[in-house]
Symmetry: C2
Subunit: 258 residues, 2 copies
C-alpha cells in the first residue's frame, strides 16, 4: 500500500515522550499506518483534562537513537492534541491512540488520567480515539499490550465509534499466556480513602503528600478494576458527555423556578 493511503495515526501519552509505553505503541501502529507522535516533553500523570492557559507552549522535534521520532509540547496531554491539530499535522488523523500508560486507568482513576483525557480531547475534535494502560508502575512488559493495541486499532478503523466516545483499554502486566480473556466493562465505582502523609520541613512547618488506597465499591467482572485484578483485558467505552441523563428526567420535576 502507498504510504499516503495508509491511515494517519496520531500517538500521544501522559508519561512524556521518553516513556517506554509510547515507543511500543508507536512501533506497533507503524505496522498499520502513518504515525505522528506528539507527546508532552515531561511526565504529566494525574493531569486529567488540564490545559495550559497562563504560559505559552513550545514545540520541539525529538530524536530517538539519532532518528526523528516525533514532537514534544511543553504542556499537558490535552495541550498536545490541541497543538498537534492546529500547528503540527498537515491532515486530520484517522485515529488517535494514547498511551501505553504506566498504571491502570480504571474506576475513579479514569477522571485523573491524562492518557484518557488526551483520547477524550480527540473525540471532542471528531477523531476516533483509544487510550491504553498497563496495570503496573514497574517491571512493565509492554509486548502483549502493543500487539493488542494494534488488533483493536485495526478493528476500530473499520467499524468506527459513536460520536463523543472513546475506548479505554486496560491490560494486565502478565505474560500473554496468563491473560484470562478480554471483557467489555463499565468504569468501576471506587473511592480513594485519603491518608495524606504529613511531614515537617527544616523550619518545623508541616507539608502534605497526597496518598491513599483505592477502595472498590463493587465486585463484578462487568467493572473494569475488578476484572483487571483477575487478569482480564478490559475495554471500557467512555463518553465526553458527563450528563446523568437518567436523573435529568427526575430533576425536571424539581420545579426549579427563578
Amino acid at each position: 500500500m502507498n504510504e499516503l493511503n495508509k491511515p494517519h495515526i496520531l500517538v500521544c501519552n501522559d508519561d512524556g515522550i521518553e516513556g517506554e509505553g509510547i515507543h511500543v505503541l508507536a512501533a506497533s501502529m507503524k505496522k498499520i499506518g502513518r504515525v505522528t507522535v506528539v507527546a508532552p516533553a515531561e511526565p504529566h500523570s494525574g493531569m486529567s483534562h488540564a490545559m495550559t492557559l497562563g504560559v505559552p507552549l513550545r514545540i520541539k522535534e525529538y530524536q530517538r537513537n539519532n532518528r526523528f521520532f516525533g514532537y514534544t509540547v511543553s504542556g499537558t496531554p490535552v495541550d498536545c492534541i490541541k497543538v498537534a491539530l492546529s500547528h503540527i499535522l498537515d491532515d486530520k488523523p484517522d485515529l488517535l491512540v494514547s498511551g501505553i500508560n504506566y498504571g491502570s486507568n480504571t474506576a475513579t482513576n479514569t477522571l485523573y488520567s491524562g492518557t484518557v483525557a488526551a483520547a477524550l480531547e480527540g473525540a471532542i475534535q471528531g477523531i476516533t480515539s483509544l487510550a491504553f494502560s498497563l496495570t503496573t508502575y514497574e517491571h512493565a512488559d509492554f509486548a502483549y499490550a502493543g500487539k493488542f493495541a494494534r488488533k483493536l486499532a485495526k478493528k476500530v478503523l473499520l467499524q468506527g465509534l459513536p460520536a463523543d466516545t472513546i475506548l479505554s483499554v486496560n491490560i494486565p502486566n502478565v505474560p500473554e499466556s496468563e491473560i484470562a480473556g478480554v471483557l467489555t466493562t463499565s468504569q468501576g465505582r471506587s473511592r480513594w480513602e485519603e491518608n495524606a502523609i504529613e511531614r515537617n520541613d527544616m523550619y518545623g512547618n508541616p507539608y502534605y503528600w497526597l496518598n491513599g488506597t483505592l477502595k472498590l465499591l463493587d465486585d463484578s467482572l462487568r467493572q473494569d478494576e475488578y476484572a483487571i485484578r483477575r487478569n482480564f483485558v478490559t475495554v471500557t467505552p467512555l463518553s465526553c458527555d458527563l450528563t446523568n441523563h437518567i436523573f435529568l428526567d427526575s430533576l425536571n420535576k424539581w420545579n426549579l423556578q427563578k
Copy 2:
C-alpha cells in the same frame, strides 16, 4: 438553631481564595449552615481533575478583612477537597459547593473546569455536591447567583442527589429582572476550533498560546450553552461515571477475543 445542628458546608473554587465568587458563595451559605472554606492559594482555571503528585502541599490559614476566612491549599481544586477531608475538617460535610466561577462551565468546557472537578471529587467521596459558574470574566455581578445558589442548596440538602452525581449550575451575568427562567439541561455538544497564536521570542524561536472559538454543535434549549446564551439559568446533572452504557451493549458484540 444551635450552630452545631446546622448543616456543615464545604466551600471551594478554582479561581483561588481571593476570587470574589467564593466570598459571595461563602457569605450566602453562612445563612443556612456552618461553613468551612478550603480553596487553592492561586488561580487554577482549566485544571480539570488534575491532582498534585510530584510536589508536597501546604495548608495555610487565610484572613480577609483581618478575620479568619478559610484555608488555602498550594494545589489544585481536587487537591483542596482531598486535603480538606483528610486533614482540615473534623466532620464530613453535608454539602460541598464549588464556585462561583468566573466564566461558564458548559458544553465541552465542563471537561476543563476545575470548579466542576472539585464538585465531582466531592461526589466520589459520597458528599452531595454542587458547582456554580457565572457567564462572564469581567463586570461580574454575583448577587443573583449567590441567592440562587442558596435556594438550590436548601432544596438539595432536603432531597439529596443520586450517587456519583452533581448539579452544575450556570448563571447568566444579567440583573435578576432579565433572567429568562431556570432550565434543567444536558451538557451541550461543542468543539473548540483551535487557532493557537504563534509568536517569536527574542531569539526568533516560536511559541504558542492556546486560543480558539467555541463552536456549538446543537441548537436546543435542552443544552446548557445554548440556553444560557438566551439568559436562562441552567442546571445540569453530571456523573463521575463516564461509561457510555448505551454503546457498551453494542460493544459486547464486537467479539474482542484475546
